[in-house]
Structure formats: C-alpha cells, structure tokens
C-alpha cells in the first residue's frame, strides 16, 4: 500500500519536475553557459574569439526551447489541432528524409531586437534542431504583427540552396494564398510539402536533366551561333545605296517648319508588390543557411 502511495505521489510530481526543468532550461543561458549543444558552433567558439563573442551574444538573445515541440506559437494564433497537424508533418519529414523543422509564430514588430531573418537563423542554430552532423532542416518564422515571414534551411538543403532558390515560389504560390485567409497551419504544411519535394528534386535529379542546365545549354548554343554568325559576317558586303548623304551640298539642309504642338498628357499609376529578399548567409553562430524573407 505504501508503495502504491509513493508511486501516485511520484506520478503527480513528475510533470511538476518536467515543468521545473523547462523553466530552469529557459533561465539557464548565461555568458558562461550559453546552452549550445551543437558541436560545430562550440568548435567555432573555441577557435575564434570574435566568433565566440558573437555566438554567445546571439545565444543569449535567443529563446531556449525544447526542440521536440517543433511548433512555437508565441503569437497564440494556432489551435491545438493546428499545432498537432504541423508536428505530424514535421515528424514525417524527419523520419522519411532526415530533415528537421522549427516553426515559430510571433506577433511583435521586433523580437529580442532581431529582424525576422536573424531571428529565424539564430532560433534554429542556438537550439538543438537538425538531423545528422550538418543539422539538416528548415526554420520558419511567421510574424503576425508585420505580416512578414522568414524561411531558412540548414545543412544539406542549405548546401543545395533549396529554400533560397524557391523562396519566391513559397511566397507567391503557397504562403500568401494561405496566410491571406488566415490559414497559417495549412500554409506551413503546404510549404513543408513543397520544400520536401524541392529537396528531393535537388538531391536526386542529375544536372543534365535540370531545366536550368538545359536552358543554359540552349542559350550557350544560341550564343555560339551568334558568335559564329558575327564572325562570318562579311566586312565588304554588297548593299544597295539608300541615301545620298555623301553627295549633299554642304550646309544645304534647311528645316523650314519645326513645330511641336502639345496636345494632351496623362499619367498612369501601377502598384509594385513588395519583393521578397532571398539569399543566405550565416547567422551569428557562423552556420550556413539559404533562404530569405517575404510578406503577405
């Protein structure tokens, strides 16, 4: 009977301990212990003094989270069902293709003095996200206050510039339509699906089958044809004379009428949608990423 009572008490205390651990973890980041588990970041911190300082500052500005949650809704926009849907999709991504993902919803015009892009990179880098040695994965930050988002991938996808190359497609074809009808979970899941497809395409398609190369080779052939045609162009060709400027009496041309009468004017105004910025670069940790930011 006593054992049963102890077991019940322990069962009641366990969630409390877990919560306490979470609380302790979120509070534990200090300059002496920045809670970085990624070995490559630690290596860089050990070798380079400036890099070490930037990484510690970056880590201290970044919230420390439990990586298995995958979805961090600081904006309070998602239902439990939404969060579960996204988590299931991320778990499938991890199991099938060894790609991790972190989804962060915020609703602040500034977040720890970050812009979306820096925050997105650092959030992924200073928490223990990623699969494999290169921490393969992707991080979304969706800022509800500014209607801007950032997407950055890391590891093998970053080496293949998957997010960087396809950012416009994600923005225009997927995220904007979903987000504009406030379906944030749907947008994120659809974007993860597309990211997975793009990753598989980049990983499995040989160069010569890619449209970029086929178009490049086609343009190269056209340029080769142009160069050869220009070289074959004859310098002393026979051409019919159309003008007689060589036989004009000098200064004999006179303009007797030169009249420009103003008739009307009109001005048109065209809206230019804000463009997404794609690229890559490194976060304060020094890890390579590809991706960028956009809006809806």
């Amino acid at each position: 009977m006593t054992r049963i009572i102890y077991t019940i008490i322990l069962a009641l205390l366990l969630p409390l301990c877990t919560s306490a651990q979470d609380w302790l973890q979120s509070e534990k980041r200090t300059s002496e212990n920045p809670q970085i588990h990624k070995q490559d970041i630690l290596n860089r911190m050990a070798q380079d003094g400036d890099q070490r300082q930037r990484a510690i500052e970056g880590a201290l500005r970044t919230p420390y989270v439990k990586t298995e949650y995958k979805v961090y809704d600081y904006a309070g926009i998602c239902s439990d069902n939404d969060i579960e849907t996204i988590r299931r999709r991320i778990n499938a991504l991890i199991q099938e293709n060894k790609l991790d993902a972190a989804i962060v919803f915020i609703s602040e015009s500034s977040w720890y003095d970050y812009d979306n892009e820096d925050f997105c990179r650092d959030f992924y880098d200073y928490n223990d996200f990623g699969c494999g040695d290169a921490h393969d994965g992707i991080c979304f930050v969706i800022n509800l206050a500014t209607h801007r988002f950032a997407i950055f991938d890391t590891g093998v996808p970053a080496d293949m510039h998957v997010a960087g190359k396809n950012l416009s497609k994600y923005e225009v074809d997927i995220l904007q339509p979903f987000f504009r009808r406030n379906d944030y979970a749907g947008g994120v899941v659809a974007c993860l699906n597309e990211f997975e497809n793009d990753f598989l395409y980049e990983r499995d398609t040989p160069d010569w089958q890619r449209p970029e190369f086929l178009i490049g080779f086609g343009i190269a052939l056209l340029i080769g044809l142009g160069i050869t045609s220009i070289r074959a162009r004859r310098k002393c060709r026979i051409e019919k004379a159309e003008l007689a400027t060589n036989y004009e009496v000098p200064n004999s041309f006179h303009l007797t009428i030169k009249r420009d009468t103003f008739v009307s004017t009109h001005t048109t105004k065209t809206y230019i949608p804000p463009s997404s910025s794609s690229g890559g670069g490194r976060g304060s940790s020094g890890t390579s990423h590809s991706g960028g930011s956009g809006g809806w």
Binding site: I223, C236, T267
Partner: protein, 374 residues
C-alpha cells in the same frame, strides 16, 4: 570604226596611263608625259586614223558550224545550248594589226596579241563622250593587295578560293556613270508620344505627353552617281561609293589607255529613279532625325527635283570569278580603294567554329548555373 592606240612619241611603243604617278609612262623607253602633253598627242593622232572595221550582226537562231564568222565564235553554254549573242564588232589593232572583237558597248579594250589598249573613239564621241572622268588613282597592284588583305580579314574563307579566284584577272574598267544634281523637299506630320516613368514608394508612375509634330525642309545634292551600264550590278556599283567628285577632270580618251572602258547602255532617264529615290530617302532621314522619337499616324509629302545630269566615266577595278560553279564579283573603287564583294563561306570551317564556340559557351553556362544560380 575608228580605233586608236596611244603611242609614245619617242619610241612608238604603247603609252599606258600609270595610276601610281598619275601620268602616262612608256614602259619601253621610260618617257613620262603629263596630261597637257598627252592631250596634244591625241589631237595629232586624230588626223591620222587607220580605219578598218567589219561589223556583223548576230543571227537570231543558233548559227550552224559553216556560218562561223572569224572573230565571232558562237557562245555555247554548259548544257550545249546556244545563247543569244550580243552585237559584236571586229577591229584591227592599230599597234600590231591583229583583229580584235568587242561588243557594241566597249569603248576601250586590250589587244590579246600585243597587249596595247585600243580605244574605240566612236564609242566615246558625240552623245557618248563623257564630259569628265576620274582617273585611276589606284594601281592594279593596289587592287590585288586589297583583295588579298580582304581574304585575310574575312573568316571562313575557303582555302582554295584565293588560289582559284585567279586574282591576276583583276582589270581596271572605266564605267559610265550618270551624275544627278538637284534638290529634295519634304514635309512630315504625325503624333509623338513622349513617355517618362518614375517610381515613388510602391507605385510606378508613367506620364505620356502627346504632341502634334510637323517638320518641313529641303536639301540640295550634287553628283549622285548611278552607273549607266547593264553589265555591272547596280548594288555593287552603289557599294563602292563614295567617289570624290573633286577628282573629276575633263575627259580625254588618253585616260583610257591601259584600261577597259564601256559606253552607257542605260539612259539618264532610265537611271533617274535610282538617284531620285536616294534624294527622297535622304530628306526623309533628315526630317525624322529632327524628331525625338517615332511618329504615329505619320503623313509624308516628299518630292525631288533633278536639275542637271552629267555623263562621266568613273574608275573601277573588277574581278569576276567562279568558285565551285558559282560566280563571285569583286569591285574596287579605282579612286579611293574601297573594295566590296561576295566572299564564299567554307561550311566545314563555319561548323567547326560553331562547335568550338558552343562548347566554350556550354562550359561557361554549366559553371555559371552550377556555382552562381544553383
């Protein structure tokens, strides 16, 4: 018909015009004569002309073998059929007495036996006497060198073309030209859209100002050339322009010595439209150049007026050659040295160059796509 050969008063040898020194130089005794001396000689020779002419008319049907006329062989094409013959005249060389054949438009030709130039004076007299001539300023050697340089400058020239083209056949010819002088007047009117664009914030603004534009003007021309010979391709003669008309001197048939010459067989009236069209195009070009943009719904009224026509002879070096059964024509302005012509392309060389250029471009494209785009 009257033929004459310009002879050296010192030794009696033919006296050709030397373009390099712009004088007449006897190749036998080395005597040199200027234009005044030669004009005096040509006036004297007019009093002592040996005329010996036979003129025969071509039969309209193919001539049988026993109708052969000495000096007038029938023209048989590659497929064995007869071609209509031009009117041919038989002349006797004043220098060596040999018989020569020339068509009805030839004004000066070479004797195939002694090489001297026989000038058919009747072809440069009366209505066929040019008022002025531009003497050759370039020699045959200049023309040969220009041709060789052109072959070096052009790409994909067949290796055997220069050899087979037989460039020694380059010949200096005085070609009959009509020089047209006059003026052109034009009036154009249309609508001009002047578009400016700028960006402000998230908007692009495009402003269109609409103007009613009107221009009128006139321009005068002097000496627009148009060749008066059907033998020479009009576009080829256009292409060797311009001629510097300041080089025109009063005609004397002594200038024809050492060159071939033709008389016109296209009248000034028949050639008129070529010069008139160039006048109209020129005034139109001037008027449009004064408009800052392209006119919409343009109305044009352009006229020309030709006030004077002059018959002259202008110097041209010609080379007609065949390569792989196809004719290629080269012409060089005998005054300025401008050379034009059709240069064949070696398709094998062209294709190899295309493959080479494409391979390099493909390699660059691969690296660009691989490391820049991807």
């Amino acid at each position: 018909m009257d033929t004459t050969v310009l002879k050296c008063p010192g030794c009696g040898s033919p006296l050709p015009y030397d373009a390099s020194i712009k004088k007449w130089k006897c190749e036998a005794c080395g005597s040199v004569y200027d234009a005044i001396q030669v004009m005096q000689m040509t006036q004297d020779s007019d009093k002592d002309i040996d005329i010996n002419k036979q003129k025969t008319q071509t039969q309209p049907s193919p001539p049988p073998a026993d109708d052969y006329v000495p000096g007038q062989p029938p023209i048989i094409t590659n497929d064995g059929s007869y071609e209509p013959q031009p009117n041919l005249d038989l002349y006797r060389c004043k220098n060596c007495g040999a018989e020569m054949v020339a068509d009805e438009n030839t004004a000066a030709t070479f004797c195939v036996y002694c090489g001297s130039t026989s000038i058919l004076k009747s072809r440069v007299e009366g209505e066929f006497r040019p008022s002025r001539v531009i003497p050759f300023a370039k020699t045959k050697d200049d023309a040969i060198n220009a041709f060789k340089n052109l072959m070096h400058q052009e790409n994909f020239v067949p290796n055997d073309f220069t050899r087979e083209s037989n460039i020694e056949k380059i010949t200096g010819v005085y070609i009959p030209f009509w020089l047209y002088s006059g003026s052109a007047q034009g009036h154009i009117r249309g609508t001009l859209h002047n578009v400016t664009s700028w960006k402000s914030g998230n908007y692009r603004y495009t402003k269109t100002d609409i103007y009613d534009v009107e221009r009128a003007g006139d321009v005068a021309f002097t000496g627009i050339p148009a060749d008066g010979s059907k033998k020479f391709d009009d576009d080829t003669m256009d292409s060797i322009e311009p001629f510097d008309l300041k080089g025109l001197v009063p005609f004397n048939y002594a200038y024809l010595s050492n060159f071939l010459a033709e008389k016109y067989d296209v009248t000034a009236e028949e050639d008129r439209e070529r010069a008139a069209g160039r006048m109209r195009n020129t005034i139109s070009s001037h008027l449009h150049a004064s408009v800052n943009g392209a006119l919409i719904g343009e109305q044009q009224n352009i006229k020309e007026h030709i006030s004077a026509v002059e018959y002259v002879m202008l110097p041209v070096y010609m080379l007609n050659t065949f390569w792989k059964g196809k004719p290629y024509i080269f012409a060089m302005n005998g005054q300025t040295g401008k050379l034009v012509g059709d240069v064949p392309i070696d398709k094998g060389k062209w294709f190899r160059a295309f493959l080479f250029a494409s391979a390099i471009c493909c390699a660059i494209a691969y690296l660009f796509v691989k490391f820049i785009i991807m």
